[in-house]
Amino acid sequence: MSTPETLDRELAALEDALAGRPVDPDLADLAELAVLVRDERPVPDPAFASSLDERAGAGFPRSAKRRMPAFSWPKITLPALGVAASVFLVVVIATSIPSGGGDGGDSASSGGGGSAATSLPESDSGSSGAGSSGSSRAQKRAAPSVAEDSAGSSAPSSVGPVPPEPPGPGNPNADGRDRRYVERSAQIVIATPPRDIDRAAAKIIKVADDLGGFVVASQVSSGSSGEFELRVPERRLQTALSRLSAVGKVRERTQASQDITGAVVSVAERLKDARTERRSLLRQLANATTVNQTASIRARLRIVSGQIGSAKRDLRNVKRRASYSTISVQLLADRRSASAPDDDDSSGWTPGDAWRDAGRILEVSAGVLMIAAALALPVGLVVLLVWLAMRQGTHRRRERALDAV
């Protein structure tokens, strides 16, 4: 076993021998070995050397045999492929991005302007009492009166179709009621460009009119905001919400429902009791023999009649709560709620629109780049790992080929 000093000394002697320098006498055999081994160096055939020189001088031209099947990418191919892939990605993402809260194409720009604050006409529903001035169209849509029903629990003909069963577990008919009354309400917040506030307000009112509903209250500040309280038939609540969602960008939308069957039954029972008492009083009045008896019964009849009238009003109101749904609409002005120009938009495409569009394009581009990076990162990582594995595999196969000799 050679010591490190011996190893270094003998390696140095080899270097000296190969370089033609003298070596220590005790290492003369090593120097001779080095020269002998070097003399065994194979020398290329002159014809081969000449041929290789020629090929090297020509830049190692590829043979026709290799050139034919080899597919060479043009230099522009890679950048072109990259651009094409990017464009494809943009198109895919642009077509797959939802149009934002279901805003439809009618969220068009308008001339805007007008008064600073405009109170839209209100309609009188007869139930809320919120409105005072009449609305020409809303008044036509006044809520249909609820037919009186002595039983109270039977289905009134004017209430409309049976409302859906209330949510929640359990059997809704467990309390023995064959008909349930559900009060439904919704709130929706819509954003439109400031110039579209007035137009959006008109659309909201039109939704209520078209669906057989009415506007309970409304207030619009031109170019700023608006608030509406609509009442629409319960069976058209979803249609109304859908159409309202198309007015602008929906920022918030909530729905609520409450079972008011108990309230209906309670009022109906009160009405029934009062009617029963009135019939009893009428019979007593027929059998009364003295003036005092007659006066007492008549006084009692007046009270009961008042109770019957009150119960009828209460029953009508509580049933209307189920047959008509309340929609609270809040209209907000938002400059970012860019909308496509409407057909009748005469203001055209302004520099402000261009600025906003440019910003939007930059946002989308940044998003696309982020998505592309998110896609490319794992794919690139996998490709890198595969490449490293293949390289390592090739290295191992080469080394095995040397060992197998």
């Binding site: 033609g20 081994v37 290329p44």
Partner: protein, 187 residues
């Protein structure tokens, strides 16, 4: 001690065609590298493969690969010669894999036809060295080829083989010791 024998003897051909297009942007002078290393690469490959015909193909293939990949050369990773011999080594090992040919030195012993009668002893010693070289394991024969036939220094040797310089020296010393022992036994 024998007089030093110059490297690359018996070279009769010279490179006459310009290789201006071969100059790398990174400063790799392929022309100069080719001229300096052509015979060394051939010697290394021929020793490793033990087949002169295959060595010619592999040498040409190695230079062609190096020519195509010259832009990938990074000076920080090692010398030009180490880079070139790394390519040549891969080409030689690919040839071994492809042909599954035994790399036993089947040569073609260099016929010492020109050896005079008084040099019989020297010829005998050369034959012993040649035989011992052929009997070496391929990895040790490769070390000898890189060191004595290709003329690589230990740092280049280490770079080609992917080992440390000290490890390369140790491996080289081990191979030389085997040859030395074979020569001593014959003596």
């Amino acid at each position: 001690m024998d007089a030093p024998v110059p490297r690359s003897t018996d070279v009769t051909s010279t490179l006459t065609l310009p290789l201006s297009a071969a100059r790398s942007r990174q400063g790799l002078d392929f022309d100069a590298l080719y001229r300096a290393a052509r015979d060394d690469v051939y010697a290394y490959v021929a020793t490793l493969l033990g087949d002169r015909s295959a060595a010619e193909d592999v040498t040409a293939s190695a230079f062609e690969r190096a020519y195509r990949k010259q832009r990938t050369y990074k000076a920080a990773r090692g010398s030009e010669r180490a880079w070139l011999f790394g390519i040549a080594r891969n080409a030689a090992l690919d040839e071994l894999r492809r042909r599954k040919r035994s790399a036993a030195l089947t040569t073609e012993p260099e016929a010492d036809l020109a050896a005079p009668e008084d040099a019989a002893d020297l010829a005998m010693r050369r034959a012993v060295v040649r035989s011992a070289l052929a009997d070496l394991p391929p990895r040790e024969r490769e070390l000898i080829a890189l060191k004595f036939h290709a003329g690589l220094d230990n740092a280049e040797l280490a770079a080609v083989l992917g080992v440390s310089v000290s490890n390369a020296g140790t491996l080289l010393h081990r191979a030389v010791t085997k040859l030395r022992k074979a020569l001593d036994e014959h003596a």
